[in-house]
Amino acid sequence: MNSVFVDAFRCEWLKRRRSLGAWLVAVGAFFTPAIITVVRLIRHATLPQLYADPLFWTLHWRNAWESMAIFFVPMAAILATSLVVQIEVRNNAWKQVHALPLHTATIFFAKFAVILLMLAQFFVLFVLGIYLSALLPALLVGGVAFPPAPPLRVFLADTALYYLDCLPIVAAQYLLSLRFNNFLVPIGIGFLAWIAALSALSWQYANLVPYAYTMLDFLKDNPDARRAVVSSGMHALAAAWSVLFVAAGYVGFATKAQKG
């Protein structure tokens, strides 16, 4: 990586300091684990049995990812992307960014890299939250067996795939956020696309829907899913959609007639 890109990236990374997007990542990541912890503390009578289950971590992991895969990850991808781009719009700063001695591609990819890193942060904090939400009730409630060491390798592999699954959403939202200065437009479209993906889950071509991959990933081997979900080749498709949206986003960004 060349050093100009590194400088541009560090500059972009500084901008998100104290911004709403940065707070959202921290709060959003710990939200589900916090809810799980609170619910367990309230239903503490059931804990000894749950923690003694040999499948404790599998159950806990799935439990934590349910709301994430269906709701929080798509929302985080939509909001974080819009908020990062909005930092420039709200502060009238695009004109300054474009008057810097940087190539358009540097500007585009440095900002995109910041969004990707913020989401990676979101995932890492969430996994940490999952771990804490397993430990805390065991520490706080008496007579509960301490959980065994978690299957970290499986968790990390799962997490990495979920991350890949949400990239089409990030790339599409980045394209939209750069296109429309009013942040309600990308957020609105993103929300509608999420609802559309949700209702397309049982469709036979659900694996072609760019906003559906995190949900499909969660549901693919879920015995409770109402119908078998079509998830064949979904990670490759997610990667393909991401590349397509990034390329389209870049073309739109580079050919914009008025840059701030």
Binding site: D7, A8, R10, C11, L14, K15, R17, R18, S19, I87, R90, N91, N92, A93, W94, K95, Q96, V97, H98, A99, L100, P101, L102, H103, A257, Q258, K259, G260
Partner: protein
């Protein structure tokens, strides 16, 4: 030598009328160039084109002798700009705002304190930009523009929101940068009076056309040639004949008679003579001659 040159620059916003016509700017190296025109004249549009912020539709732009199309990044390394309102991240402090740019421009971190001092914001370096007054934001915007010691500063109405004292400080700062570091300054304004004591060169733009370009002295000369004496009497026809007899070349204007510029004692003599001949003089006096009136004149006469 020219620092910045454009030829034939035209622009039309989507589906609208053309807002710039054949703008040919010539900004000499190490000059302070005042780009003047009323609101909506096309100043900001021109400056945006110079920075590549809007896509050029026709014409050429060269800065430091190179074409902007091919050498944009190298050129921008040496250019500092402030277009309309300053671009400040309101959730970051003054120093953090500059630190962002310092990274890209690769200047020493010590330069941040230096420019803050220079624009009078040293005491507020750790205050968030969102809490700044309009004038303070404008100063921070200037600090950001000059952070990397650019060879060319492009400032779009930089005195917006400044108090009279701030305007004088800004003027002194720009003059100092120009003298000490040889910075070429291209500064736009809608008030000639505001930049009259700052600029060495002037370009006057109105409705997207460049009406005048040259040194401030050349503008002064032109304004002197446009000066005249206006005369309004009870009987302009009679007065015209009397003046012709006296050898004064007068003509009928839109509001009374127009006489060539002359020293005040001559004006008094003409007045006396007319009164003695029984012509009632309602008004007589020198007109034009100052920069503001040539400016208004240029704008007014070619507005049709």
């Amino acid at each position: 030598m020219l620092c910045l040159e454009t030829t034939d620059l035209c622009h039309r916003y989507s589906a609208g009328e053309a807002v710039l016509h054949d703008i040919a700017l010539a900004v000499p190296h190490a000059s302070i160039y005042g780009f003047l025109g009323p609101n909506g004249a096309g100043k900001t549009t021109t400056l945006r084109l110079l920075l590549g912020l809007i896509r050029k539709q026709r014409g050429t732009i060269s800065i430091f002798g190179r074409h902007l199309d091919e050498h944009r990044v190298e050129i921008l390394r040496q250019v500092g700009s402030l277009i309309e309102t300053p671009s400040l991240y309101e959730h970051l402090t003054a120093a953090e705002n500059l630190a962002l740019l310092q990274r890209i421009h690769r200047v020493p971190a010590a330069r941040i304190a230096e420019v803050l001092e220079r624009v009078g914001l040293a005491a507020t370096r750790d205050k968030r930009a969102g809490q700044f007054s309009l004038g303070m934001k404008q100063r921070l915007g200037i600090a950001a523009a000059m952070l990397h010691r650019p060879a060319l500063l492009i400032l779009d109405e930089p005195t917006n929101g400044l108090d009279p004292n701030g305007i004088i400080e800004m003027r002194d700062l720009l003059i100092a940068l120009n003298r000490e570091e040889g910075t070429t300054v291209l500064v736009s304004s809608h008030l000639l009076a505001e930049v009259e004591r700052l600029v060495s060169h002037v370009g006057i733009v109105h409705r997207g056309r460049l009406l005048f370009q040259g040194t401030l002295d050349a503008l002064r000369r032109e304004s002197q040639s446009a000066a005249h004496v206006s005369l309004h009497t009870a009987d302009d026809g009679h007065a015209l004949r009397l003046l012709a007899d006296a050898g004064v070349p007068a003509r009928c204007g839109s509001a009374g008679l127009v006489l060539p510029a002359m020293p005040p004692p001559h004006i008094a003599a003409i007045n006396r003579r007319l009164v003695e001949q029984g012509v009632e003089v309602y008004a007589i006096g020198a007109q034009g001659g100052d920069l503001e009136s040539i400016f208004m004149n240029l704008i007014g006469s070619r507005a049709a």
